[in-house]
Subunit: 248 residues, 2 copies
């Protein structure tokens, strides 16, 4: 039995009771190093296995291997935010099928997404139709990402950006390019905001305009989530809010 | 003090510890009738006020009035899913500002969105870039909704549809029109799925193709969330999965 568990920010406050109950049942819990560190304090008696970034397939293969060899074992595969959004849920289902492990029970436990946590800290920017988009070009080609940025702007969607930058200089260039494209469609004063380490130790956030955020790429890292408003977004009493359209 | 609380499905399993702690602190909890009914059993000693659909402004005005008259009172404003996604978070911030109530502290507590709950039940359809779109034309004109459906298709986004239909025959017509538009861009065998009452009593779900879902509008109601795949979506071992692009 494999639980694929979204742990929200990694602090108990943003975990669900269902996620907690699943973690309590696990014999071994696998995850990216940083997120294992966050939850280890809540379950000091558990066995954890820490992995590096880009070892997603390795984690899943290990989970399937233990389940295959010892069907009694309960394995937890954790993702920050929601395990079904750029998390481990899809990959484990794909690999279980590819490996002929379809007898292994896999239960996906949804969590609070980074987009929701980020939005709640900034105000209420996701109150109208929105797009969730990753700027990571590891698994999706840049031409597709660029097409999606343009489509999101054409639809006047609020845009929530995951993985805005990484350590690679190429990705920082991509971020600047993404901002340039958005500025072709959206006004320079479109409200934007980003949150780093939302809902956990080290949280910080900033609200600014689209033209300003294009210049502050050096302030962003891979623990930031970014939201760019649509034509109905406003800064209201210091909060970033997208109007839903109520008559007031 | 006003807490704006996302309660997930309404069952404790999909609530966060933070949401629960906030509900425990409240002197009075306001919400749509159906969602009040779901959480009343957990807090039998609390005062609840039930509202009808479309009484969102009335709820917020009442919350602000109590806070203004009695700043000691702690008020909870609940939304199903995440309070920041088509929930009460934006409206209360807008109204507090419009009414000159900016001294009232308003804390948004993110929850597990219906899109995440729905995805976890169907499999892992939101593993790649996606759009969240409401088909309700009460607050957004149909021409804008139609433009957004086209943009979402142009970007090959997975599409998560809130409020796919309502009791109004006009809205059922809109749903059929939305499917027709998607069929202009996506293949008829694009995987789709919907979940009714996700994560709570009465949960049901179905996985099918885009051409099939276009014909089953009579099976949908306002408690359904719908997900339409992109070009990378597959049915894998009975689950609806969007491939993220890992080499396997």
């Amino acid at each position: 039995m494999i639980y694929v568990i979204g742990i929200g920010s990694g602090e108990k406050d943003s975990m669900t009771f269902g996620a907690w109950a699943a973690l309590e049942k696990c014999d071994v819990i696998l995850g990216y190093r940083k997120y294992v560190e966050l939850i280890r304090k809540y379950f000091p008696e558990k066995i954890f296995r820490e992995y590096s970034m880009r070892e997603e397939i390795k984690r899943c293969e290990y989970a399937l291997k233990i389940s295959r060899e010892n069907p009694q074992q309960i394995i937890g595969l954790i993702s920050s935010g929601d395990s079904g959004i750029y998390g481990m849920a899809g990959l484990i289902l794909e690999l279980a099928d590819a490996n002929g492990d379809s007898q292994i029970e896999i239960k996906i436990i949804a969590g609070v997404s980074a987009s929701s946590i980020c939005a709640s800290i900034l105000g209420a920017p996701l109150m109208n139709d929105y797009v969730v988009l990753s700027l990571s070009d590891l698994l999706t080609g840049w031409e597709i990402i660029e097409r999606r940025i343009r489509a999101a702007c054409l639809g006047d969607f609020v845009i929530c950006v995951f993985n805005p930058v990484s350590k690679s200089p190429k990705r920082r260039e991509n971020f600047r390019r993404a901002c340039e494209i958005m500025l072709e469609y959206k006004t320079p004063d479109t409200p934007c905001g980003f949150v780093r380490n939302g809902g956990r130790y080290g949280e910080s956030c900033e609200i600014m305009t689209l033209s300003e955020i294009a210049d502050c790429e050096s302030e962003l890292d891979m623990f930031c989530t970014l939201i760019i408003g649509n034509s109905q977004s406003r800064i209201i009493n210091g909060k970033f809010v997208t109007r839903r359209g109520y008559d007031m």
